[in-house]
């Protein structure tokens, strides 16, 4: 079981900055995120987009902001559980929490901070009525182990880089690879588009453009799919596997079932005081929370993190008083024993 003072769900910019604010109070943090890398939306959706409203940065790329935050929190040695989604929460008799991920990793902490942004990133599922019936029964939204497709008939759908790249990769492994795309054009990297065109010529990929997968059939597992052409003609294809690759979109996910007060897909918090939720010991900060006048801005999340950390301290160290100190005066005491501080001025008498 992973033990920490503050367990943060969501490793986006606000979750990361929470580590810093907690660290100043000598509280240890651990982060859980469904994505395989820290940074949340900033890394996953728009790493190369400039942000113009981070105080002190006239312009910063979202990816660079994440790198800077990682550097800033390094002295406080945060722990990470990445690529796993926080699934269940159990409140213990002593008021602490145990959070278990979808992969079974358990975390124990007296304070829980939800900085989950818009939720965890889940694959976008094509609107096919019975699609969930075939999940892991021939249908997968990710390719974890390409070897399971050896000598199989595989259909990939999508028009982006991952659809192209996996079609190329699997064309060497699978018995048959068909790539289904709604349009004629592909918008992936030029190299990949050219490579696919080459493999189509060689007969290693069969390309079905202006076509959509519209139905799935099978008893125990997927055995055929229905495709619909632009002219509405339908056709059945025998398949062993169907892999729709349409990117990721955020979903509030299991957090919605934790007994927290939810309003318009966001967690209601007490903004007059500490950003606490209706469950004592659980706070919600950043885009995931809501209160009158809420602005979904990274800078507001940073502010919320600073306030929240002070109150989290009171829960972790009841009865102890903490007086806020300025980093300009006290520097930063890293958990690694390193101290960052301003150079001392030296008085020299002449």
């Amino acid at each position: 079981m992973i033990q920490t003072d503050i367990l943060i769900i969501g490793a986006g910019p606000v979750g990361l900055f929470t580590v810093f604010e907690a660290g100043l109070l000598k509280l240890k943090s651990h982060l859980i995120d469904a994505l395989p890398q820290p940074g949340g939306q900033c890394s996953e959706i728009y790493p190369k987009k400039p942000i113009y409203d981070i105080p002190g940065f006239p312009e910063v790329l979202a990816g660079d902001l994440v790198n800077n935050l990682m550097e800033q929190i390094k002295p406080f040695q945060p722990g990470f559980t990445l690529g796993e989604r926080a699934e269940t929460i159990e409140k213990q008799e002593d008021g602490t929490f145990v959070v278990t991920t979808n992969k079974g990793t358990k975390h124990h902490a007296p304070v829980l901070v939800i900085a989950g942004g818009l939720g965890s990133f889940e694959p976008r599922k094509p609107p096919i009525a019975n699609i969930t019936d075939f999940e892991d029964k021939g249908l997968a939204y990710f390719i974890r182990d390409p070897e399971i497709y050896r000598d199989k008939k595989v259909v990939i759908s999508g028009g982006g880089d991952s659809a192209l790249d996996w079609s190329i990769y699997l064309s060497d492994i699978a018995a048959e690879v068909s790539l289904v795309h709604r349009r004629k054009e592909f918008r992936g990297a030029l190299d990949s588009v050219e490579k696919v065109a080459e493999l189509v010529k060689e007969g290693k990929i069969s390309l079905l453009t202006e076509t959509e997968v519209t139905g799935l059939n099978g008893e125990e597992k997927l055995s055929s799919i229905e495709i619909t052409r632009k002219n509405k003609e339908k056709e059945q294809l025998e398949v062993d596997a169907f892999i729709p690759l349409f990117g990721l979109s955020p979903k509030l996910g299991p957090i919605a079932n934790w007994g927290l007060e939810i309003e318009k897909n966001a967690i209601k918090v007490n903004n007059a005081l500490d950003y606490s939720t209706n469950i004592p010991g659980i706070f919600a900060i950043g885009d995931v929370n809501t209160y009158p006048g809420k602005l979904k801005l990274i800078l507001c999340g940073f502010h919320e993190a600073a306030i929240m950390a002070q109150y989290a301290y009171n829960i972790i160290h009841p009865g102890k008083r903490y007086v806020m100190k300025y980093t300009t005066v006290n520097g930063i005491d890293g958990f690694d024993g390193q101290k960052k501080e301003a150079k001392k001025t030296v008085a020299v008498s002449i």
Binding site: Q41, I45, Y46, K49, L118, R124, K125, P126, P127, G158, G159, G160, R182, R183, E185, R187, F246, G247, S249, P250, K251, N265, K296
Partner: protein
């Protein structure tokens, strides 16, 4: 101020008055009227949660690459699909008729 007509996913018609001097786009206007438009990505043409179908013959600004790219990946896309976040309100949009595309999961 212009008015646009938006049909929601239940078929109800909403008349939305929008100022044209605030840099607002259709997604933001729908949100201001509390229509069920998520605008998940904040208007960067990266989520398609503001996809709508254009029902009137208004001439709209041409799609930029980001919008085309997103609609390429989205579901329920039709020839008249646009992303609300990429349609900044202008005078010539007065009377524009839109229908919200289904939510996709």
């Amino acid at each position: 101020m212009i008015q646009i007509k938006v049909t929601d996913r239940e078929g109800n018609l909403h008349l939305l008055d929008g100022p044209i001097d605030m840099g607002l786009n259709v997604m933001e206007l729908c949100k201001a009227y509390e229509l069920p438009v998520e605008g998940t990505c904040g208007g960067m043409a990266m989520c398609a949660s503001c996809q709508c179908y254009v029902q009137s013959n208004h001439e709209l600004p041409e799609m930029r690459e980001a919008e085309e790219e997103m609609l390429d990946q989205a579901f329920f896309v039709a020839d008249n699909s646009r992303l609300g976040c990429q349609l900044s309100l202008t005078k010539s949009m007065n009377g524009l008729e839109l229908e919200l595309a289904p939510e996709s999961y």
